[in-house]
């Protein structure tokens, strides 16, 4: 069963990715030589920063968690033919909603977490419901409307944070949430929490859902061949609406996991870019939730490793960003994977 969850042309993909990585490292080495630093030392530091000891590995997994959950949110959309670019906004709204429940109400420990997570999920779904409605009712392009919703979400949460719920002092943050709303941490030495397990379970559950349930099959059909699906008696509009809502709900969950598990409060601009990282991770994995686990881990390692890179080498943040971009670019080039005539029937997502 596990084998059937993996993409069919996995071996080929892996070989292509390794080749791509080699090219990226070579290009990166050129950049590093230009700033008079030793490429081997830089790459070794990058690896040490990502996997050097148990704390570093936990740091990598900590970075992976939001990317993974956002990635699963994107996968759900891609499978159903919906390009949800608004995960970033759903993450912000979800994060704020969870924090609000966390600091406003006093509830018993487990219940508090559940209510806060539910609020995050509801906020994410609610935030995408407007673009989703316009998509299925009037055919408004969901890419445009969800991107625009991101700006509103970020500014709206800033407004909430600064004007309505500000913690006194120089901070642009809400008050801290109550300890009863904390997601349990996995280890004593890291902020890594059960959010990672939630993400992993979600990825596997999503993969199983699309693989083994009738609804999952129907959604995949709506995504890849909407006319065929409609002919087969599926309510394409309702399916599309449901897909976007589910995708938004998971996006909101990603934000909730960040505030409840890591930051224990909401701050203005608290996690910029994770929604987009997740989207890229999902696209790299070709919309496969299981594949997204690995691509998210790759992104997480790259991000965590870079943090040590800046401290231990002379490479500046700008250079590190360039190296990161080169690696991502090369990996996404998919050298040996031919999409055209792919047995899955081409790209799953449509604009």
């Amino acid at each position: 069963m596990i084998a059937s969850l993996l993409p069919r042309n996995l071996r080929r993909t892996l070989a292509g990715q390794l080749l791509a990585l080699a090219i990226a490292l070579a290009l990166g080495a050129v950049v590093i030589l230009m700033i008079d630093e030793n490429p081997l030392r830089v790459f070794a530091t990058l690896m040490r920063g990502a996997f050097g000891d148990s704390e570093k590995i936990a740091g990598t997994l900590l970075q992976t968690t939001p990317i993974l959950i956002c990635g699963v949110a994107a996968c759900i959309g891609l499978r159903g033919g919906m390009f949800n670019v608004g995960i970033e906004g759903q993450l912000f709204l979800g994060g704020f909603a969870a924090a609000w429940v966390g600091f406003s109400f006093a509830l018993p420990p487990v219940l508090h977490v559940l209510v806060a997570v539910a609020a995050a999920v509801a906020a994410g779904a609610a935030w995408v419901s407007v673009p989703a409605y316009f998509r299925v009712r009037f055919g408004a392009n969901e890419v445009v409307s969800t991107i625009l919703a991101n700006y509103v979400a970020v500014l709206l949460t800033s407004y909430f944070t600064i004007f309505l719920f500000k913690r006194p002092g120089g901070w642009s943050e809400t008050p801290p949430i109550l300890p009863s709303a904390y997601l349990p941490e996995l280890f004593s030495f890291s902020r890594l929490n059960i959010g990672l397990l939630i993400g992993l379970a979600l990825a596997v559950a999503t993969a199983l859902f699309f693989r083994f349930t009738t609804t999952g099959y129907a959604v995949t059909m709506v995504g890849s061949a909407p006319k065929f699906a409609e002919y087969g008696g599926i309510n394409v509009r309702r399916a599309g609406f449901g897909v976007l809502l589910a995708s938004g709900a998971v996006g909101g969950l990603a934000g909730g996991v960040e505030t409840l598990g890591v930051h224990h409060r909401f701050m203005e601009g608290f996690a910029p870019g994770f929604g987009f990282d997740g989207l890229i991770a999902a696209l790299l994995a070709n919309g496969s939730p299981i594949g997204t686990i690995f691509t998210a881990l790759f992104f997480g390692a790259l991000r965590a490793g870079s943090l040590l890179l800046e401290v231990d080498t002379t490479a500046s943040r700008e250079i590190i960003t360039v190296i990161q971009a080169l690696i991502i670019l090369a990996v996404s080039a998919d050298l040996l994977l031919r999409r055209k005539g792919d047995r899955t029937g081409g790209r799953r997502w449509k604009f």
């Binding site: 120089g170 040590l308 800046e310």
Partner: protein, 333 residues
């Protein structure tokens, strides 16, 4: 400025005289912030680089970026090896990560710039912005009091203030400013507004235009990037503005009266100097005020040339009085 030159000279002499011991144990300094590219952050970097040139310290700058998830690891990466004698930190969004890591590495000396926190194990570089703002207020009040006899001044007897957000540190600027006006020109009125954001130049411009429209002739900008708009508005309305943090005379030449400088460079330089000279920097608060040259009001040359000598003399007297403690300025914090 003079104070700084003196500090510098003293530093060079000292560095030269203690060279052998320096080579033996070099001082390692790191600085971490997300603002090294703008305003006050640039001033800090200037001070660090000056210290590097003068004392030959080992300097590491770390840009935090803007992801709050990263901050804690970034601090831990710096503190873990114990390699750095001093780590300078600037930015309130870093505070929680800073306090956590500081508790984890109690022997690591962190210096938080521009604020005072609860933790007893840290060093705080605090600025007496109320003192600088007092002088700025006195200047603005006296110039406004000149009335239409001075270029671009009306007879409204009002001046303005545009703050970023309504937070304690900005209130402290406003408090000093108001006290300065009250002291030097009691019948000039201060109209204060807050933009509610530090990142919206358009709003800053709009608010300043409104203040000018209501008869204010001089507006004090304490609003970070929002304040860029205030400076632009002063040029558009052909009135006066007062800059903050760094020298802003060039942002609207002819329309900027002066800038209230918060000398981040002076603060980091003098702290590093103590450390290099063997006076180990101890936890506690260090206040950088008019006396130590940490805050100062710098007149813009073009306007200063037109300013009556009496006002300049009065400003200098006030400065001396504040330093001598003859005038006490209430803090809003």
């Amino acid at each position: 400025m003079k104070t700084f030159a003196r500090l510098l000279a003293a530093g060079i002499v000292l560095a030269a005289s203690s060279l052998p011991s320096l080579a033996a144990d070099k001082v390692h300094v790191a600085a971490i912030s997300g603002y090294f590219a703008q305003g006050f952050g640039v001033s800090i970097v200037n001070g660090l680089n000056k210290a590097k040139d003068d004392f030959g310290i080992d300097l590491k700058l770390v840009d935090t970026g803007n992801r709050s998830l990263d901050y804690e690891e970034q601090f831990a990466n710096l503190a873990k090896s114990g390699e750095y004698d001093l780590i300078f930190v600037m930015g309130w969004e870093l505070v929680d990560a800073l306090q956590k890591v500081s508790a984890q590495y109690p022997n690591q000396r962190f210096i938080f710039i521009d604020g005072v926190l609860d933790s007893k194990s840290m060093i705080y570089a605090n600025f007496a912005e109320e003192q600088g703002s007092f002088i700025a207020g006195a200047l603005a009040g006296m110039v406004e009091d000149l009335g239409p006899s001075f270029d671009k001044i009306g007879s409204g007897k009002a001046i303005g203030f545009v703050g970023g957000r309504d937070i304690p540190v900005i209130r402290n600027f406003l408090g000093g400013y108001e006290q300065g006006v009250k002291y030097a020109a009691p019948d000039v009125k201060v109209n204060a507004v807050f933009a509610g954001t530090f990142d919206d130049p358009a709003k800053g411009s709009e608010l300043a235009q409104t203040l000018y429209g209501q008869g204010a002739d001089i507006v004090y900008n304490v609003a970070g990037p929002t304040g860029e708009g205030v400076m632009q508005a002063s040029a558009a309305a052909d009135k006066y503005s007062l800059g903050v943090d760094i020298d802003m005379c060039s942002s609207a030449p002819g329309n900027v009266l002066a800038s209230m400088l918060k000398r981040g460079d002076v603060a980091v330089y003098s702290i590093i100097k103590d450390e290099v000279q063997g006076k180990k920097v101890q936890p506690g608060t260090r206040t950088f005020d008019l006396a130590s040259g940490g805050v100062e009001v710098k007149l813009c040359d073009d306007v200063a040339a037109k300013l009556p000598q009496a006002i300049k003399d009065k400003l200098e007297t006030l400065r001396q009085d504040v330093i001598a403690g003859k005038i006490t300025i209430a803090k809003a914090k």
